[in-house]
């Protein structure tokens, strides 16, 4: 029976399903051609391509160019282009200018212009909000970058909140995002390359790096990887993140996603590579190590002792978040002698009337906490978090009074739940919360021995993780040269080197004297 099922599964999964698809070879062939000199033919071609007039926001405006005495047409998407600009600096000069002149660039006053002749290419430009101008008798098409997309302005960072330091965050417009980075690194070596990564919806990814720092090999690996997949559309950076990762099923993240331009700039200065995408309010930092995920920009903005203090708090929170509930289970179920007698008596006394075994108790509360947390996130108003916390308190109080949960479990869960908020990176946060459940099971199974066994196995796994060839715990182990910004950071004057695992072209970022 089982075999049959598994066979069936294999059959269904291993062969590519066949569909009755309509062939679009005609259109593809058409896109490969160049435009003709015939004005009418061009117009007809593009009208069919864009399905005018069904496609309501594709605007085709025909007119006569006064100075040339020839017919012209502009095609643009009214939802993507700046109509005012088109009117003022393209259409108006073309119609009004009466000086006899031969060249279009001399007539039109719009600052950014180029030409193209391939039909496919022109189509792509038009979809990106560029205005195309066809002139009777010309075998070229004039393109004006009139793109104007509406979107959010630059706002405060919501998810990576810090007290001291820059507050601005990336938004959905990549132009703004790049300018935010440029603003911080005023250097001609800062390169912004673009690469299309999906065929159908033509999403571009922007690769940002410092030319004179970045390791060529690493850059090439990333570029190869970006070219390696054929997908119709990748709408968001977070989907790209999953595609790029070496182990997409792993619990632990290997790429760093941040919405803070200051953080991105800091990583670029170290020799990392940043990926940006249109429509994504964030950036990907590659390669990322455990330390990058664990640190927060504020560690560096605060004075050294304070920065280290919150680092220590964070590592403590990490351990508390992962280990309090498992250790509670392990100790109360297996190693009773470990608890001081008074506490043991107190726990035993309160647990006497609780009907469930302690592992069920803990699991119940952990799940309740996760539910409250998720619900608080989805409540569509700013009072969401408040409701969440109030809900947790009331739930806890009532559960204790109803003798379903013993009070000490509430303390344990509250502590581990609160601590998990301190890990600011979203992916890391999830990783921590999921591993907590694994540890709870292992503690229920074999007590401390189970927990330690899982911990060691987990460490073996973590150590073997790699992010674009960089080991997860580099530069701690395997050791490489760096400014030792790991658990504890030094004063900024002592941080003289870029991380060695990146093999940057320039290791030293601060010289003596």
């Amino acid at each position: 029976m089982r075999e049959k099922i598994s066979k069936l599964w294999k059959k269904r999964l291993n062969t590519e399903p066949e569909f009755n698809e309509q062939s679009n070879t005609e259109v593809i062939e058409l896109k490969k051609q160049d435009i003709s000199t015939s004005y009418d033919q061009n117009l007809a071609t593009f009208k069919t391509l864009f399905t005018v007039p069904d496609n309501i926001d594709v605007k085709v405006r025909e007119f006569t160019i006064t100075s040339l005495k020839r017919k012209g047409v502009i095609i643009f998407l009214s939802t993507m282009a700046d109509i005012q600009a088109i009117m003022d600096s393209i259409v108006e000069p073309l119609i009004d200018n009466e000086h006899p002149s031969k060249k279009i660039p001399d007539i039109v006053s719009y600052p950014i212009a180029s030409t193209a002749s391939n039909i496919g290419e022109i189509t792509e430009y038009i979809t990106a909000g560029i205005t195309a101008l066809f002139v009777e008798g010309d075998d070229q098409c004039y393109l004006f970058e009139t793109t104007k997309i509406s979107g959010r302005s630059i706002e405060k960072s919501d998810n990576e909140v810090i007290v001291k330091g820059a507050k601005e965050a990336f938004n959905e417009r990549v132009i703004d995002n790049i300018s935010l980075i440029r603003k911080k690194i005023k250097n001609e070596n800062l390169l912004v390359e673009t690469k299309p990564i999906s065929k159908r919806s033509r999403n571009n990814v922007f690769i940002v790096y410092q030319k004179d720092l970045v390791n060529e090999e690493l850059l090439q690996t990333i570029k190869d990887k970006l070219e390696s997949f054929e997908i119709d559309s990748i709408l968001d950076l977070s989907i790209l993140e999953q595609i790029l990762e070496e182990r997409p099923r792993s619990i632990f993240p290997t790429l760093l996603y941040t919405e803070r331009p200051d953080r991105a700039a800091a990583f670029i200065e170290e020799g990392h590579i940043i990926l940006l995408m249109e429509n994504s309010p964030g950036c990907l930092i590659l390669p990322a190590t455990f330390w990058a995920l664990f640190h927060s920009p504020e560690d560096h903005y605060l004075r050294t002792p304070y920065g280290n203090f919150i680092r220590i708090l964070r590592i403590l929170a990490l351990f508390v978040a992962v280990f309090t509930s498992p250790i509670y289970i392990a100790i109360t179920n297996f190693h009773v002698g470990m608890i001081p007698p008074d506490l043991l008596m107190a726990i035993a006394g309160t647990r006497e009337r609780v009907p469930f075994p302690s592992i069920v108790e803990v699991l119940m509360m952990e799940i309740a906490f996760e539910l409250i947390r998720e619900a608080g996130l989805r409540v569509p108003s700013p009072i969401g978090p408040t409701i969440g916390i109030v809900g947790a308190l009331i739930l806890g109080q009532a559960a204790v009074q109803a003798n379903i949960i013993s009070p000490i479990v509430i303390i344990v869960i509250a502590l581990s739940g609160l601590s998990s908020f301190i890990i600011s990176d979203l992916s890391m946060n999830f990783a921590i919360r999921i591993t907590r459940f694994l540890f709870i099971f292992s503690a229920g199974f074999m007590g401390i021995y189970g927990v330690t066994a899982l911990l060691i196995a987990g460490l073996y796994y973590l150590v073997s993780l790699k992010s674009f060839g960089t080991p997860y715990f580099a530069p701690m182990t395997p050791h490489s040269f760096s400014s030792k910004d790991l658990l504890i950071r030094h004063v900024p004057m002592k941080e003289k080197f870029r991380p060695g695992y990146l093999k940057p072209k320039d290791m030293v970022k601060q010289r003596k004297g």
């Binding site: 109360t332 179920n333 009773v336 007698p341 043991l344 008596m345 647990r351």
Partner: protein, 415 residues
């Protein structure tokens, strides 16, 4: 996909296994009954022992607010058993929960049983049980252990574990009872060269005890009246090769504790005869021991010589004869007197150990070891016998750090 599915089903399997079968060593802690004290007596039947268990009720005294329990704080159960490990199972016919020795703090052995030559063989089974820790204490009770637990009804610390923790700790700090952990018992029994002291206790007060000096009492002799518990912890029982042979009073125990650097006594309050007063007045002093004793030996010859130097710091707490300690002469007299007193006390006690106990009740033989090159030589020397012949000189180095407040004599009316 295939892989993910396998992994998922495996994980599910493990979770089920864990939830369903993970119960070899697992046990909910409210499922157990915790033995705080274990009493051992001789049984009427040959080869058996009488085990008494003092069990704590976790519900009493641990609930903060909201429906305190009306249950009793403890349960006591006595029965005859072959040993106290298998007794755990027997006790379950009476006690509803499974018996655990995890919190076992104190073993109380009746004096009668402790003097039985069979005692060590029974008691060595402690090492076999994994729940019993070597830092629990061994105490000897004057009466039967079963009776002792029944009679012992603390008024303030109704929770038994707290009572024994406080009682024993403060007793040891004052030096009136020895630090008699099982660890030390086995260490001394294994060494076989020195004696072991166990704390002496009773829950029965003597009818008409004599009034003695501050610390010369044995357990039960202190005539305390009022609304109180009759249990007393003072003095010690002497064990030789694991069997009890004698008793020491509170004062003697304290002296041994000062001689023994391995126990950590804190400051001790004592009474010392006042050198300046003709009547038998005594002044109070606090003894602080901050440095270790220095022991020197000369083990050649028939009579080995042992020199012990005890550095002690004194704080004078009272001044009954109102002597003026601003005068250097008075200070010297006092210092000399205290030193003489301490030396006398120690030498008397050590004499007693040589003649009466036939062994030294603290690990003094360890200091002899360094005078020998090899174990063979040390064995040939035979400490056990040589000690009885030894000449022991005790020297007290007294350092008086504080002479107390200087009070002038209150003026009598008409003076």
């Amino acid at each position: 996909m295939q892989k993910t599915k396998t992994v998922c089903s495996l994980m599910l399997f493990f979770v089920m296994v864990i939830l369903l079968t993970g119960c070899w060593d697992r046990g909910e802690l409210e499922d157990k009954s915790y033995v705080i004290g274990l009493g051992l007596d001789r049984s009427k039947q040959e080869g058996k022992i009488k085990v008494t268990m003092l069990l704590a009720n976790p519900e009493v005294g641990s609930m903060q607010g909201g429906g305190g329990s009306t249950e009793k704080p403890r349960e006591i159960i006595s029965f005859d058993a072959n040993d106290f490990i298998a007794a755990k199972a027997t006790a379950n016919s009476v006690i509803s929960r499974s018996i655990s020795y995890d919190l076992l703090r104190i073993f109380v052995v009746s004096e009668e049983f402790a003097r039985d030559p069979m005692f060590p063989s029974t008691f060595f089974e402690v090492l076999k049980d994994k729940e019993i820790r070597l830092n629990s204490y061994l105490a000897v009770s004057k009466e039967k252990a079963a009776q002792y637990f029944l009679k012992n009804k603390p008024r303030m610390e109704t929770r038994p574990h707290k009572y024994f923790q406080f009682m024993v700790n403060h007793g040891i700090e004052n030096g009136l009872i020895p630090d008699s952990t099982l660890f030390r018992y086995f260490q001394s029994a294994e060494r076989g060269t020195d004696l072991f002291l166990a704390m002496y206790t009773t829950a029965i007060r003597e009818k008409n005890p004599k009034i003695k000096r501050e610390d010369e009492y044995m357990a039960g002799e202190l005539n305390a009246t009022g609304e109180l518990d009759d249990t007393q912890f003072i003095g010690s029982a002497v064990f030789k090769n694991g069997v009890m042979i004698d008793k020491l009073t509170g004062q003697e125990t304290r002296t041994i504790n000062i001689l023994d650097d391995t126990t950590n006594i804190k400051d001790i309050l004592v009474n010392i005869p006042d050198p300046f007063s003709s009547s038998q007045k005594q002044f109070a002093a606090r003894i602080l021991k901050t440095q270790s004793n220095k022991v020197k030996m000369n083990l050649k010859g028939i009579r080995p010589k042992i020199y012990i130097t005890i550095p002690l710091q004194f704080e004078i707490m009272s001044n009954p004869s109102r002597v003026n300690y601003r005068k250097e002469k008075n200070r010297q007299i006092l210092r000399k007197h205290i030193a003489d007193h301490i030396e006398q006390m120690n030498e008397d006690l050590l004499k007693k150990t040589q003649t009466k106990l036939k062994g030294v009740p603290y690990p003094l033989p360890l200091f002899a070891k360094k005078y020998f090159g090899t174990i063979q030589e040390y064995k040939k020397f035979n400490w056990g016998k040589s000690y009885l012949r030894a000449d022991i000189h005790v020297k007290a180095e007294i350092d008086i750090v504080n002479y107390g407040k200087q009070t002038s004599r209150p003026k009598k009316v008409g003076e």
